[in-house]
């Protein structure tokens, strides 16, 4: 995808300086943790480090207390 085809959010992200991105990333990371985001790696069977015996699909939205009640059509 070329820059011109990217969604506005990504275009704005690329317009930031590296340090501005790093600071924003710290905030996003903090928010991610605040809503219960997991720091476990996402299960990825295409990764050489993938271990089917220890990888799980992960809790819904990363928080152990949440579970999916309904999914969209796709």
């Amino acid at each position: 995808m070329t820059f011109e085809e990217m969604p506005d959010e990504w275009q704005e992200w690329l317009e930031l300086t590296p340090i501005e991105r790093f600071r924003q990333s710290e905030k996003i990371f903090a928010q991610y943790l605040a809503i219960g985001g997991s720091l476990d790696p996402d299960p990825d069977p295409t990764s050489p480090f993938y271990d089917p015996e220890t990888s799980s699909t992960g809790a819904a939205y990363g928080r152990p207390g949440l579970r999916v009640l309904r999914r969209g059509p796709v």
Partner: protein, 232 residues
């Protein structure tokens, strides 16, 4: 060198872990282990920390426990597929400084792109974004090195066609190294897309071949740990 570097370059918004490419030296390993000790980091997967295993291309995975870094994973490597020794990577690195004077040493974008050419599907859109971000930032200030990088690594038909029009001589000179550039001259978007996909499949096959013996070792390490004979 991984997701955090991608944040600096604009190809990711955040990363759940920290990946470190490390100079393999006894002194450096001592400093690493001391730093991991301060973070109360524990190894969470095979293999164990062993400079010989790192030298063969293995990664060692740690997780911090307690404090501000609680839960954060730290992965350490000293060797990356198809990338030169650490000394070369270090000489080519990018250094970014924040407003307080703290510095961040990250892989050069060229090396990061190469490091991301893995069998993992999720790494390939990252390469697109790294190169596109680089072109967006520096396309107005082309140098021979930058033009060569864009021609070698751009992954969208539209960008390649644009580059071939803008830098025809440089593109022609690179066709022996990257044959799909010939398609960019004729503006064949669909054929370019197919050729780009073939490039990905080829690199993924190379990465799988590189990791095959290491994965076999993982399996042996895992079995040994499950049977209780693994060492820390």
């Amino acid at each position: 060198m991984g997701g955090q570097a991608c944040v600096f370059y604009g190809a990711a918004q955040f990363s759940k872990d920290v990946d470190l490419a490390l100079l393999a030296s006894e002194e450096n390993f001592s400093r690493l282990l001391a730093a991991l000790g301060e973070l109360n980091a524990k190894r969470i997967a095979v293999p164990r920390f062993d400079p010989a295993l790192l030298a063969r291309g293995h990664a060692v995975h740690f997780r911090c426990q307690g404090g501000e870094a609680d839960g954060l994973r730290v992965d350490v490597m000293t060797r990356l597929r198809d990338l030169p020794d650490f000394a070369v990577l270090w000489a080519r690195r990018a250094t970014i400084q924040d407003e307080d004077g703290a510095t961040f040493e990250i892989l050069s974008v060229e090396d990061l792109v190469q490091a991301k050419k893995t069998q993992r599907e999720k790494d390939w859109p990252m390469i697109d974004a790294l190169v596109e971000g680089h072109y967006r930032a520096l396309g107005g200030e082309p140098t021979p090195e930058r033009v060569a990088f864009w021609l070698a690594e751009s992954r969208t038909p539209e960008r390649l066609i644009g580059l071939a029009q803008r830098f025809p001589n440089e593109a022609r000179a690179q066709t022996s190294r990257r044959p799909l550039l010939r398609l960019a001259f004729s503006g064949e978007s669909e054929a370019l897309r197919t050729a780009l996909d073939a490039e990905v499949r080829l690199e993924q096959a190379k990465d799988r071949a590189y990791w095959a013996p290491l994965k076999a070792e993982f399996e042996a390490f895992r079995r040994a740990e499950r049977e209780g004979s693994g060492t820390a």
